[in-house]
């Protein structure tokens, strides 16, 4: 069964600095999607960025980028120029592409604090 591991329960970053959140996953599949979701204090789940496993190029969305290492099964999120509004819980998630087992599998989350 697929698993997603976030080994950093909490992280802290200074405003305007860069922070990297780690995520590793375990799967035997070759086609899948990876996601980072942000959950601010409002608890709304917001999709930050997605990566298709077949794409070698790392996804970027403005200040957010990923380092996708398929062989190492690693999917880290880099937040550049951190802002106070980035403070939130961040969840890494995995979903296989098609097939019977197709549910989104979440990690346990990393709580990011942004210091002014």
């Amino acid at each position: 069964a697929q698993t997603v591991t976030q080994s950093q329960p909490e992280m802290s970053v200074q405003e305007a600095e860069t922070v990297t959140l780690s995520c590793t996953y375990d799967t035997s599949e070759s086609d899948y999607y990876l996601f980072w979701y942000k959950q601010p204090p409002s608890r709304q789940m917001i999709l930050v960025i997605r990566q298709e496993a077949y794409k070698q190029q790392n996804a970027t969305e403005n200040r957010f980028s990923v380092n996708f290492q398929k062989a190492a099964k690693s999917f880290s999120l880099k937040i550049s120029d951190s802002q106070l509004g980035d403070a939130a819980m961040y969840f890494c998630a995995y979903r296989s592409d098609g097939g019977a087992t197709n549910k989104l599998i979440f990690g346990t989350g990393t709580l990011l604090a942004v210091q002014p």
């Binding site: 409002s42 608890r43 709304q44 789940m45 819980m89 979903r95 592409d97 197709n102 989104l104 346990t108």
Partner: protein
């Protein structure tokens, strides 16, 4: 564009009372629909998912049930709430079999 609506936003219910949370999706057809619960602000537990009208899969045994009476409507219910049912409930939808999920704004349920 697709939107997902979830209500109510907040609910306080006494132990033993019934529950009905509703989720609707607009702008898409044949979505996969999901109910999650999040306790203590950490970790999401998948409760139910549905791939079509009347098709419900339960992930964990519990005091709750789900129904999908229409293609884009997903309802979470309970006949008698327990204290342990308190939590934050999220509805989500996805394109069938691929891509990410889009979440509703959630319902904060407190059972007293």
């Amino acid at each position: 564009s697709q939107t997902i609506h979830q209500w109510p936003a907040t609910l306080v219910q006494p132990v033993g009372s019934p529950l009905s949370l509703e989720c609707t999706v607009e702008g898409t057809s044949n979505p996969n629909l999901y109910w999650y619960r999040q306790a203590a602000g950490r970790g999401l537990q998948l409760l139910f998912y549905s791939v079509g009208i009347g098709q419900i899969s339960s992930e964990v045994p519990q005091n709750l049930s789900a129904s999908r009476p229409q293609d884009r409507q997903f309802i979470l219910s309970s006949k008698k709430l327990l204290l342990s049912d308190s939590g934050f409930y999220l509805c989500a939808w996805s394109v069938r079999w691929r891509g990410g999920y889009t979440f509703g704004s959630g319902t904060r349920l407190t059972v007293v």
